[in-house]
Symmetry: C2
């Protein structure tokens, strides 16, 4: 059986999972593929921490460049993360014509075009299945399975930490800070959770999905990225009363020749399957013109799920090396024509606005008039009985409106004397 040498850069959580998976299930994988992956080197700056996997010490090195340059190593697996040395190492591998597997979503979101172009110029390739959705083969589904489809839209729950927090807030009536602290204690959330809860991790994945589906070059600076930090139990409860659940969504949607890409908490109908995704699980809903909706669900992170997808990519690359058929499927959207990123202000959607209004006659009509002046019409209003204080919470749900109008309307509403605090705005996805 043909053997292919694998070099692993980064012996952290996922790196150790890949090495372990190739050890434990190596015979299974070789039997299925008809080729044998052999880990020939593992590079990391830290060679002493116990990763819970036994490896021959001769395989370990701190010299990643030597691993890349080793002629017995055919596939480079980059699991270092970050956008600096990972970028250098991947570039070095591609320059040498060696195919790369990576799970590095930040790097691909920021420098994907450059790296894919380099791979193409060197007739080699980058597989990146584990960059979105961890153990869920969503990249493979989009890249290969749905190849006959024009993609209308993609909606993803792509950050397990956020979905866990939102689930606990709703089901157990807990406050954001309490759940976050508990999740950090249990290891579900990072000590520095900003990348997750402020939406950037999800945004990296949204950019990758937009590139794959549409060939779109979207900069993180040009899309709406809102996290879940500002969400209150009150909004979660009110949403539920209106028939919605709040999820942090990555939205990638084709509207004419523009692609609407954004990340924010969104209200989704309770009876929609995306609303049923609980806890740390991820899910991606793809609407294709032939398939209609298909959904992919599973663990979006973690040592073994992510390693499963990395190994699946290694398998593809080995088959491509064996057949001399690199670049079997394109890494970014082909054939959909020229598209451009929609300006965030041009997005059209429905809005939930929670206002704190002075408890006196006529206040709501001032708000309604202000919305009307900005071309926004109201679908429903929910005003609860006042319990205490001078201000009452009032929820306004709008019909579809343009985001820049909504921004302007909120600015105007905040000028009204009867309004206390900045209105809470949550977008609605039907």
């Amino acid at each position: 059986m043909n053997e292919f040498g694998i070099g692993v850069l980064g012996f952290g959580t996922v790196g150790a999972g890949v090495v372990q998976g190739l050890q434990d299930n190596g015979d299974l994988i070789a039997s299925r593929l008809g080729v044998q992956p052999v880990v020939r080197a593992i590079a990391d700056l830290d060679l002493t921490t116990d990763r819970g996997v036994h490896v021959n010490p001769d395989l370990l090195t701190t010299d990643a460049e030597a691993v890349i340059d080793n002629p017995d190593i055919n596939v480079i697996v980059e699991l270092i993360g970050g956008t600096n040395i990972a970028r250098d190492f991947i570039t070095r591998a591609l320059e040498a014509g060696k195919p790369v597997v990576t799970a590095n979503k930040a790097l691909l979101a920021k420098h994907g075009e450059e790296l894919f172009a380099l791979a193409e110029s060197k007739s080699t390739e980058i597989y990146f299945g584990a960059s979105v959705g961890g153990g869920i083969p969503i990249i493979r589904a989009l890249r290969e399975g749905l190849i006959a489809n024009h993609v209308h839209s993609i909606h993803g729950i792509l950050n397990g930490t956020c979905n866990y927090i939102l689930t606990r807030m709703e089901e157990d009536g807990m406050a954001f800070d309490t759940v976050l602290a508990e999740a950090q204690e249990k290891g579900f959330a990072e000590a520095d959770p900003a990348l997750d809860i402020d939406g950037m991790d999800t945004a990296h994945k949204a950019v990758i999905l937009g590139r794959l589906a549409y060939g779109l070059h979207a900069s993180l600076d040009d899309i709406t990225i809102e996290g879940i930090r500002g969400l209150s139990e009150a909004d979660i409860k009110l949403a539920r009363g209106l028939g919605y659940r709040i999820k942090l969504l990555a939205i990638v949607k084709k509207v004419g020749s523009e692609i609407d890409v954004r990340v924010h908490p969104a209200m989704v109908p309770l009876d929609h399957v995306i609303a049923s995704i609980r806890g740390v699980f991820n899910a991606v809903l793809v609407d294709g013109d032939m398939t209609g909706d298909t959904l992919y669900y599973g663990k979006g992170a973690g040592r073994e799920p992510t390693a499963s997808t990395v190994i699946g990519d290694i398998g593809d690359i080995m088959k491509n090396l064996q057949a001399g058929s690199a670049r079997r499927f394109p890494p970014s959207g082909n054939g959909v024509g020229t598209v451009s990123l929609m300006s965030p202000g041009d997005v059209r959607t429905r809005y939930y606005l929670r206002l704190s209004l002075l408890d006196q006659p006529g206040t709501l009509s001032q708000v309604a008039a202000t919305l009307g002046e900005h071309g926004i019409s109201i679908a429903s209003v929910l005003q609860q009985e006042s319990h205490a204080g001078d201000y009452v919470p009032v929820v306004v749900v709008t019909h579809e409106a343009v985001e820049s109008d909504c921004d302007a309307a909120i600015q105007s509403i905040m000028q009204l004397d009867v309004v206390h605090d900045r209105p809470v705005r949550i977008r609605i996805e039907e």
Copy 2:
């Protein structure tokens, strides 16, 4: 760009969908693949019915064998269905070394081993993505994406007609016969619905999944196949009260070196994602040793979704032809060792039993004693107040028990004077 000739056998619903898909999205597909699929012939006995797609009349023929033998045709797409002439045509194509795409689940369930062996002996291949799950790329996920995983189990909702009927029965409190009649009227159910509602269609798919995951040769005669015809609204309501929803499931599960394969209505916990699959949608839940649970969801039938997957398979085959790399991934489970089909009587699961008991003291204890004699212990009992008549419905939920014991216990219970009618038995999947 390389062109490959496609011959379509069977110009019915899916055949027309494939031809239409290749027409409408052909440029997209070619751009993504770097090769061009060209439909060079379409064979059907009926050349007059309007399929809603315009084709050059020169492409149409009643002579399928001429299509197979045409040297300009590289890929044979079998969409005739059934196990007779479809088998002959696929055999002829494979004998000639031509790769085949098929959506024919009945044929693959019954004669898959023979056809896959023939393909192997001729160094060609069969792609069968659309045989399970219609537009959902579940076969691809199992065959390629999850290649690093030992599969613990697969649970599938694989028949849209049944899931639609069960959804309407639960949500609208309708009787089985009423929903079926309505579904037939709307075209969701066949005029002869037996293949769907009696579970055979789902069983075909279960056999294919068992072969793919484990290399298991399971005969349809040797597995439990129960449909939804006997289900009553009463059981659906009682299940709901106990925290479950009834779904028709395909279950494929590894237990030691045996594979438990069965198709029957099962009670699944309401908060499990599989319980949230509504209407005509299908879903497949795969538990792999590395990924944990992953789920795939979408339209399991219909012209365009099924055609999408057929075209995906055509794409793979064209890439394999281009690279001279047929048989990229094995069509049935490799590397899992020798497995055998579990005897249905050896299955271990929990049971819901609805009994009709004489409304007098001591009857329940007789039932409990009978269950105990067969080694079955009771987890809970639900007895509703008697409204009328001499018999009352009593629900017994058991702990895990062996199916042959449960069968014997039911036989004994039916001998009791206090029991009216055959008990209704529904298995529980946690």
